[in-house]
Symmetry: C2
Subunit: 426 residues, 2 copies
């Protein structure tokens, strides 16, 4: 293992500096949050800042046609596939400073550390940030990495529009990040992403490094429950068809399913609940709600989804309402490469850091890259029960530093690795 370690003060200061861009103060809490919705003014300023930092670290910048940015540090064998360290710097509207940014500024800190020590690697090292990982503005998450790896065609991505009708392509051009490089990225030798856990597990266990096994399966249902609007003061219970009651039963059923233990380490959430007409004295005639199911086990996910769907039908019959639902997202589990997981464990061990295996509850660019190369992730713990997408999001200087030290070790391990591409190129 490498004798090098990253500069934790510099890393944390770089996260603070990026976090000051697109900052806002939350009315209710007085806390400072971050709003860098993809391709907006905050994101544009953040992009210019990071590109400037990359250039200062000696990286050569490439911007592709979907606005993904790659900063390349040359290897002794430039023709070999690089090791790529990446994530994203766009954010949800009410974000903290760490989600995504740790992977990008962590990658840059790895480069700076190599520079500090004059280390030359066999393979190039590329630090990448991908366009619109959050999907908060244009409705499709992991957009840039999905285009780079071929899951989403460029023209389909260009045509996506925000709520005001502005298209991705126009917004890329407007902020000066409509690049000319081919959007399909050449598969790197390995892709590594250091990220905050966005959950409480590592912190609660007192563990310093999360070895990410993969991303759990995700299923989203958008439900429309139609009942019968009626006068709240006069209509007897027996004549009601109340879609709010039906939604309530589904919400509580999700929790019963969790408590049953029949679906493994399931998560279930009703995030959208909205009744119409929404008047105090009128039984609603329509409720729109959503169900978000997650599971690290594909079989358990399938069982949970089937049982939830069967329950919708049962509730519809019992409550005399119509329930229509649409599957708005569905992905199976994405396993990360054993080669990455093994090296993350080895690095943590060598540094005397506690570690544990963990499954990612959220989606990440790494799951897109996993389609085209050896990919994996390192998680670091978060304070405040690992709260994320919130100004209270916080991983400390040392929590961040632990993760990026491991990122450095694993990056060097891959960057000096010979491989199939060494003979004859790719």
């Amino acid at each position: 293992m490498s004798p090098l370690s990253v500069n934790r003060d510099r890393l944390f200061a770089s996260l603070e500096a990026l976090g000051a861009i697109g900052a806002y103060v939350d009315d209710r809490t007085g806390l400072r949050g971050v709003n860098r919705l993809a391709l907006g003014a905050g994101d544009a300023a953040g992009r210019r800042h990071v590109v400037e930092q990359m250039r200062a670290a000696g990286l050569t910048i490439t911007v592709d046609r979907i606005g993904n940015v790659y900063g390349r540090r040359e290897g002794t064998r430039p023709e070999l596939a690089p090791v790529m360290l990446g994530s994203h710097i766009d954010s949800v509207e009410t974000a903290g400073r760490f989600d995504g940014c740790l992977g990008v500024m962590g990658g840059l800190e790895v480069v700076r550390t190599l520079n500090d020590h004059g280390v030359r690697t066999l393979r190039p090292v590329v630090v990448a940030f991908f366009t619109d990982e959050e999907g908060s503005r244009f409705g499709t998450d992991m957009l840039g990495s999905a285009v780079a790896t071929g899951r989403i065609p460029l023209e389909a991505a260009y045509a996506l529009r925000d709520r005001e009708g502005r298209a991705v392509r126009d917004e890329l051009r407007a902020i000066g990040f409509l690049g000319e490089a081919d959007e399909r990225v050449a598969p790197p030798h390995a892709y590594l992403e250091c990220h905050i856990e966005q959950g409480p597990v590592l912190r609660a266990a007192g563990v310093r490094v999360g070895v990410v096994e993969g991303v759990q399966a995700i299923g989203w249902h958008a439900l429309t429950i139609v009942g019968k609007s009626a006068h709240a003061g006069t209509t007897p219970m027996g004549l009601r068809a109340d879609p709010g009651v039906a939604a309530a039963r589904i919400n509580l059923r999700l929790r019963e399913m969790l408590a049953s233990g029949r679906y493994g380490d399931m998560r279930a959430t009703m995030g959208v609940i909205s009744a119409r007409p929404g008047l105090v004295n009128v039984v609603p005639n329509e409720v729109r709600c959503t169900v978000d199911l997650r599971n690290p086990d594909d079989d358990a996910m399938r069982r949970a989804e089937a049982d939830a769907i069967a329950f919708y039908a049962a509730v519809a019959a019992e409550e005399r309402v119509q329930i229509s639902w649409e599957r708005t997202a569905r992905t199976d589990t994405v396993p990360f490469a054993p080669a990455v997981r093994e090296r993350v464990v080895a690095a943590a061990r060598a540094r005397g850091m506690s570690w544990q295996a963990i499954v990612s509850g959220a989606g990440h660019d790494a799951q897109e890259m996993a389609r085209i190369t050896t990919a994996g992730m390192i998680f670091v713990p978060g304070e405040h029960d690992g709260i994320s997408h919130n100004p209270r999001e916080l991983s400390t200087r040392d929590q961040c530093g632990d993760g990026v030290d491991v990122l450095l070790d694993v990056a060097l391990s891959f960057a000096d690795e010979r491989g199939a591409d060494e003979e004859g190129g790719r």
Copy 2:
């Protein structure tokens, strides 16, 4: 009892004609509904139409300072307190043709029938329609009758504004119904209101006339439930504080309370349910919802309200959320005068109409008038389970005619009644 009967065809045609004013076609059903929000263009047109009809029937029109309209047919003893027949012609945004209008056009039909037969009554007969009974636009229901009877001061009513910030006084002036008559109405000898039931009871029982005992107690709670926004994919159940789950438990608890039979003939409704931020993959941090409780028994109402409030606190503790609530309305039961109820029963009996006692689930102008005089109501059945505030609202020609025949009988009984005011005026 009177040998007279009203002209049912004329009555129903007058309801159809008024229902054509402010009409719209519902997008989803293709049904024609009525939108005559108080003091808007539809209400103004409806007011002009009814005033014209009143004048054509020989009534003398008075408009007071809150826009209530009184059409007077003189009695042989003009100095005696009149019998007043009234209701409202304003509507909710998605109304039918009968709510309120039956009481006004029914009152006018009584006058027309007296005219047809050259009947002179001892006391004057006044047909009234009150401003903004629905409260849908300015937020306060029974506004005109509450001002007329002194519950709400005129200046407070004038200052009410709609969502666009337009004040009642300005809107009255704009539509030409800011009258000059004293808004405090001289107590009539009796006040009678014929109205659709707005519920299924009479129709289901096959009963033609509802003898309204009074208006049930009403309590409204506006709840704000604050939890903790969290990532749907990562946050374990044990660390969640989900206000949507809390709202669901309250909604289902309301139904359990009903089923328990411990609260008499209670009604309970959660009409507003709205989660923020309202994203599929985020545990909500806030849910706003409402509880509407009704009960024909004041003691049972108090028990139900106390138990609901205790449950809010229990749920808050169990779900680790904060629940704050505000009582946005609370009225005890309003009993109607025995003298009116007895005469309604007598009239129905004399005409061979089946009848039953019933408690009003909704609020009505009659409950305001009950504060200052002998007041009561006659209900008629409605088709389609008595649906109301909906284009499908329908009471047939004969259902309406039955009610207005009884209204005629009871009106005549009071209009020819001598009383304390006969000696020395009032």
